[in-house]
Amino acid sequence: MRATFSRAIAYAFGRRPELVFWLVVLAATVALFAADELLPWAVEYPSEWVIPLRFWVSDFMKWLINEADLGLFTFKQFTRSISWVFNWFLAASFGVLSEGVKIPLGGEALFHLPSLSWIALIAMLAIMAYSIRDWALSLLVGICFLYLAIFGQWGSAMVTLSSIVVAVPLGILFGLLLGILAYRHPWFERAITPLLDLMQTVPVFAYLVPVLFMFGFGPVAAMTATMIYSLPPMTRCTTMALQLVPTEIVEFGNMAGCSHRQLMWKVMVPSARPTLMVGVNQVIMLSLNMVIIASMIGAGGLGFDVLHALRRLAIGVGLEAGVAITVLAIALDRLSQAYAGKAPVRVKKKVSFVRRHPHLVAALAIIVATTVTGFLVPAVADYPESLTVTTSGFWEKLVTWINIHFFDTLDAIKSGLLLNVLIPFKRFLLSLPWLAVMGLLALAGVRLGGWRLSLGVAAMTAFVAVTGNWEKAMISTYLIGVSVVLASGIGMPIGIWAAGNDRVHRAVQVIIDTLQTLPAFVYLIPVVMLFRVGDFSAMIAVVAYSLVPIIRYTDHGIRQVPPSIIEAATAAGCTHRQILLKVQMPLALPEIMLGVNQTIMLGLSMLVITALVGTRDLGQEVYIALTKADTGRGIVAGVCVAMIAMVADRLISAWSTVRKKQLGLS
């Protein structure tokens, strides 16, 4: 008996040293639980130990804005002059797309040059799409913009578009420059990487107040916030793309006698274009994600329409305005992707300008023609309001119908989940001693990536406790944790299905794009009508938004399993099911986990929005800080959100790398 037992232990030690390790860890945690009486400070972080960081940040910002002097001018004058310059760009694009331009003729007289007519803009984009790719793309872009006209969204869409066409190129430019700097100077890359992480994970609401102070109230502040959020992927993509440029090309450039600058701009940047365009694409998508938040601080446009409609509970109107944002995103995204994939065309120099640029000439001709006829026929200049259609009544009736007939069923499901799963899990997380959580995460860091990772993770966890946000952070963790599990449960099967079937794959792509760009506000209100305010509604919103990466990465992960391995498995007589479960899934798991990682990131970025349906976590803290214009409180809570994101990111990425190495995939 005794022999068997010791043999069992030896077996466990020999075969599974990790298991014993984790058992010890578990025992230590339980011991800490028991230590509640002896070491109360290890369980609940004492409030008198909290570092008043948020007051320091507030004071610093106050000093920066009111007193900081850079010698020739103050800091505020500096930011305001930037704002003044940006405002010119904005005014120009606003004039072209939305309001028209007033040219003074002396005295009181003004010459009003109208903005691009709806026909001209649609024709121009369709021609552009045709010249980049083909008729199909042209048709898609045309339909997208026709939607805006027919559903009466044109005016607002142009306001939004006019700030997007400024914010996106500026974001790309700054991202590119920072990326090149980071490529040239490794120390700069090391310095900027954590900063980029913060820019992507600190919720926008957290730095909205300081941005308002610095850049003034209005579209420029909104645009600056948009750029802060959308620029990091461009910088990352640039650095990576330049590093991936084959050395042969660089050497060839050197041999051809290129100067430093020529080498960068004429050789390396063009040959890195495909990867750079991934960054461009991200800038476009993230900028459109920001449309709603930007409208809260004076950007107007579609975002404002969505907010306004939902405030008066016009679900259908809000949905149509929200879909208009999605439609804009899809059109711009497809155009930029097509441009990325386009091979450079050689043109003969000798033919006339018209021959060389037939599309450009056609577009210009249409612009001139529609502008002139626009003065005589108003319908050409502005899409006639009498021809707009709306489906809003249908959506409102649909939600009311579901509400009346199915509320009790939905309510029973909700209450069951809430009382049996969500609330117990929340209580469990809240009862965990903070020191134990920190210790566990640090240990996981040691096992997955060594001491440096471990220290980093511990420091980030400690930051949350030390700034006094532990309890709220745990509620956020609970909400995101539950949502990620649910999103994985829904997303993985869809991803697997899409990986095995090309038609499903294409259909899923459209749904994914819609989910990612449709503002969460649009579905938040109907969700509240059916599920009441609280954690459950918040969870649904988080799941809907963060479902995208898990589907995409599962699909991608399974597709990239080498066909030779599948063939070998088939030859060995595996069934379909066995291939999926024993070959494809384990091999795709590292990739899928990166999808889970992205799901966590997106979920965290939804936290502030969930504050609008009454959650009481870090998101609420950021939101309260925003409404009270409390800079320090918002930034500290925002950084805590970023810390959760970064801890999850570092650990999962480390695991994925280790696992890929074990599988021989990297």
């Binding site: 007033k102 003729l105 009181e108 007289a109 003004l110 010459f111 009003h112 040059l113 107040v209 308002l212 102070f213 003034g216 109230f217 209005g218 409208s295 809260m296 601080i297 004076g298 107007g300 404002f304 907010l307 306004h308 939902l310 405030r311 008066r312 509970l313 001139v368 502008t371 002139v372 626009g374 003065f375 009311t400 509400n403 009346i404 509320f407 209450s415 809430l418 009382l419 506000f521 938040l524 209100i525 109907p526 509240v528 009508m529 059916l530 009441r532 305010v533 609280g534 609008l612 349906v613 009454g614 959650t615 009481r616 609420q620 939101y623 309260i624 925003l626 409404t627 009270k628 214009a629």
Partner: protein
């Protein structure tokens, strides 16, 4: 409008050849009505996120335009707008409610960078509110004592046996928790988080005739669209909030309803020098709950455009706003 466009087009043709080539439309800017504006710089009026505020802002803006001023509207968050007003980026905010922004207004005025532009004449009412059909399920309403008996009617699975009172956003304050304790009500406060969520629940409950009691305010479109009443708590006095011995509960404060109070305008302090007549007009702006409620209902329930509703009011009530600019 059309005639003006055509006439102005003729002018343009005469004045410049290039314009004829492009095709032109001309507009005469400014239609000076009451004296000259002191400065042509635009006066920026903030738009917050509820319809009533838009109506006040567009009425004010319309009057200022008729006085010859240039006016711009900028969307701004209700509480974040103070930063802009203090810095001079924004110039006039038309609706600040004592019930929600009292501290913020006081703090902002204390900086000296903003000025009080006086009351709007409207009175903000905020309190517990129930749909009329609840009178059958909880007899005795609107008297608050009825809630003592039928808290359970308002319960949901996660609050049972306590009743569920739906409050607003965390920042709105309101002392509902204290009120519940002081009055001995068996209710739990649930935060809706935002106005949208708050009234989404009301709409859903109203369509099902389900029990609900929640935070509503007036002037707002909700009490016009849905039939219901405010719960009648003991009337608010300053003493009730400050002095525990006052009122029904001798040991606790807050044993009464919420304060009803002013809705104020405030402006950027520099505006008084830059556009004195305009700011005086803003000080004179007065509207009552009744006409505001009617306009809000026209915009939000009948779905008319706010600017259309405002234009109609301005042309029908010229004698009213004329007095503001004299």
């Amino acid at each position: 409008m059309k005639r003006m466009r055509r006439a102005s087009m003729l002018n343009a043709i005469k004045s410049a050849v290039i314009m004829v080539m492009i095709g032109a439309c001309m507009m005469l800017s400014g239609s000076a009505l009451a004296g000259d504006p002191e400065s042509k710089d635009p006066i920026i009026i903030t738009l917050n996120d509820w319809t009533g505020q838009h109506i006040s802002s567009y009425i004010m803006g319309g009057v200022l335009q008729r006085m010859g001023y240039n006016v711009e509207y900028v969307q701004a968050d209700y509480l974040a707008q103070f930063a802009g007003l203090e810095a001079g980026d924004l110039h006039v905010a038309m609706e600040l409610w004592a019930t929600t922004a009292k501290q913020a207004v006081e703090a902002s005025l204390k900086t000296g960078n903003t000025v009080d532009l006086g009351d709007t004449g409207m009175v903000g009412i905020e309190d517990w509110w129930f749909p009329l059909y609840m009178k059958e399920k909880c007899p005795g309403l609107p008297d608050w004592r009825a809630l003592l008996e039928c808290a359970e009617v308002f319960a949901t699975p996660d609050t049972a046996p306590k009743g569920r009172y739906l409050s607003g956003a965390a920042t709105w304050g309101g002392f509902d928790k204290e009120r519940i304790e002081a009055l001995g009500l068996n209710f739990e406060v649930i935060q809706a988080g935002s106005e949208g969520a708050l009234f989404a629940e009301l709409k859903a409950a109203y369509d099902r005739k389900a029990p609900i009691v929640l935070w509503v305010w007036s002037p707002h479109w909700v009490p016009y669209k849905y039939k219901g009443e405010f719960v009648e708590f003991p009337r608010y006095t300053d003493e009730c909030y400050n002095n525990p011995s006052w009122g029904i509960n001798p040991d606790k404060a807050y044993d009464c309803g919420k304060p009803r109070g002013w809705i104020k305008k405030i402006g950027w302090a520099g505006g008084d020098k830059k556009w004195p007549k305009a700011f005086q007009a803003a000080r004179n702006f007065r509207l009552d709950n009744e006409s505001m409620g009617r306009m809000v209902a026209e915009a939000d329930i009948e779905g008319r455009k706010v600017t259309e509703v405002v234009d109609e009011w301005l042309s029908e009530n010229e004698n009213v706003w004329r007095k503001w600019i004299e």
